[in-house]
């Protein structure tokens, strides 16, 4: 039996990798992928607590499924935005795009 802390540490590592990626990647697609990692870290947490807190109704798993669905939807929207930005600015580097400045 793998202890709960292992799952949580994995989740935390995954979150940190995602956060780091989101903060450091210049490529907008990379940022999007990093956000997916963060979401997956959250999914692991949901399932872990569902398993170890002894609830038998599977509510955490349902939430994980919901998050996956929403992540898919947000990826679609994000990619559409990236394509639109690329068409206008001819770049998808996040540090080149500062239209929201001031």
């Amino acid at each position: 039996m793998i202890p709960q802390s292992h799952f949580l540490i994995l989740s935390a590592i995954l979150f940190c990798i995602g956060l780091f990626g989101a903060l450091t990647r210049r490529n907008a697609v990379g940022i999007l992928m990093s956000i997916e990692l963060i979401l997956n870290a959250a999914n692991i947490n949901f399932i872990t607590f569902n398993k170890f807190l002894g609830s038998s109704d599977g509510l955490g798993q349902v939430f994980a499924m919901l998050v996956i669905a929403i992540a898919g939807a947000s990826a679609v929207v994000g990619l559409a935005l990236i394509i639109a930005i690329y068409k206008n600015a001819k770049t998808i580097f996040a540090d080149k795009i500062n239209l929201m400045k001031w």
Partner: protein, 641 residues
Amino acid sequence: MVKYSYLIPLFPFAAFVINILFGRRIKKLSALVAILASAISFFLSLAAFIGYLGGNGSYTVVRWLDFNAASLNFGVTIDPLTCMMLLVVSSVGTLIQVYSIGYMSHDLRFSRFFAYMALFMCSMLGLVLADNFIMLYIFWEGVGLCSYLLISFWFERASAAKAGMKAFITTRIGDTGLFIGILMLFSAAGTLNFKALEHSSGNQALFTIAAFLILCGAVGKSAQFPLHVWLPDAMEGPTPVSALIHAATMVVAGVYLVARTFWLFAMHQPSLIWVAYIGAGTALFAASIATVNNDIKRILAYSTISQVGLMLLGLGVGGYSAGAFHLMTHAFFKALLFLCAGSVIHAVGTQDIQKMGGLLPKLKVTGATFIIAGLAIAGVPPLSGFWSKDEILSEALNNGHPVLFAIGLMTSLLTAFYIFRLIFLVLFGKPRSELHPHESPATMTIPLSILAFFSIIAGFVGSPFMNHAFQNFMVFPQESYIPHAAGAVHLVMAFSTLAAFSGIGLAYSFYMLNNKILAYSVRSKFLFLYRIIYNKYYIDEIYEILFINPCIRLSRLSFKFDLGVIDAGVNAVAQVTVIIGKIKSWFDKYIIDGAVNGLAKTVRLSSGLLRRVQTGLVQNYLLIAFFGLLILIIIKFIKAG
């Protein structure tokens, strides 16, 4: 016809309105308008007189005004006194206006002159018709106004403007007394109607004071001593004005007033005899000035003052009809004298009698009428002045005032002297300067002839030949107030005739024998007296020192006070306001505006700093959000720990 008498003053008023509004357009026709109105008034007066003789009631209220407490009826009086005044005023007024056509023909303000004349006629006729004090006072001020306007008619001359002001202010002193008197009567009796007042019983002491105050008004208007100073200066006006207003009608308004309120004076005794004293004193005093003056019009002005004094003397000794009689005859011969003087001035262009002389052959009509008027005023029988003056003298003697009689006789002598001095110097002898006189036009000589006719015959109505018809007509209802004694009529007649002839003789010996200009020998003997009289007893100078200079000094003082205290105060307030304003402005600028601007600057500065955060780079936002989360977690742990 009595009930239409209220129309008498309205016709001249209509003429005034027409002339003042359309005078420029109708030009010379304005004279016709004014004369026509006066003539209609004359015929209406005649009708009223005949109606009155026919026994048509004496008091008629034609319209009235109601006030809260008391009712003041505006009505007309038709009684002997009013009838006489109406006829005199309207007839003399009409003749003088006809004369004015010729006299004023070259004047620029021809129509304006006739407008004022018409207004005067309206006021004067209204004055004698009034049946109460308020109406009388309104018209009383009306004639005063016309007098002022006409004296200063040639206002381009500073002396004329000043004379008008002098006349207005001097008579105003008397008028104020009159008004106070009227108010006293009202408070004592509660009515102002002459008839009602006569039968009212009130505070008798108040009535006596009121009588003196009314006398004060009469003294001002009739130019009696001490308020006589305005009349000689009033000669600055055109000569027809002097004839109508300042000889025949307006100046006798005072006499009329005393006659109208005769019952008041008679019942409150000390007042009546004061009328006589003032009249007698003024008569002698003014006659003496007239003997040495050299201005043809001023001599006549002093003569008027003197004659009006005689009328008051007559009233004052109880001779109601005698005073009224002299008023009537005087109106004719004095108007004639003035018109003759005007004709002479018109002919020679000067008023100084020293420069005239020998005018009779050149001015035949004027000269002849002048002599008739002179004989009338001197009291030569059987001309009009003789009968009326005689009447006054006999009243004085018979009612027990020998001193007043002597003063009257002395005045008669002086009157004969100065008027013949005037006639001898102007009409006889040799011309004393280069003059080219010419007779006046017919519009001037015809009125002269008519007035000369009246000057001769007007006295007969009061003479024994007509059984004293005038006196019987003019009889005062309460004649019983005054003790009457039938006396030495023939003695008085002899005395007054003697006085007249000795005056004329004296003038002849002084001025005709040797054709001397002035009686130098007599003058040098009484040089001191001559100087005093020649300078009109220094009355003007005394007034200057006593009243006018203090008045001017007071005005200057008030001016200085105004400048130094009131103005300074106002200026100080203004300066304080300016300083307060400056402080407020500073406060507004630096405190209020400073606060508002400071707030704005703070916001701008802080927002300038904070906007740096908004880089627009999405990763920065995420980083900040992350650090924010971290801080929240740390706080959470610190709190929990």
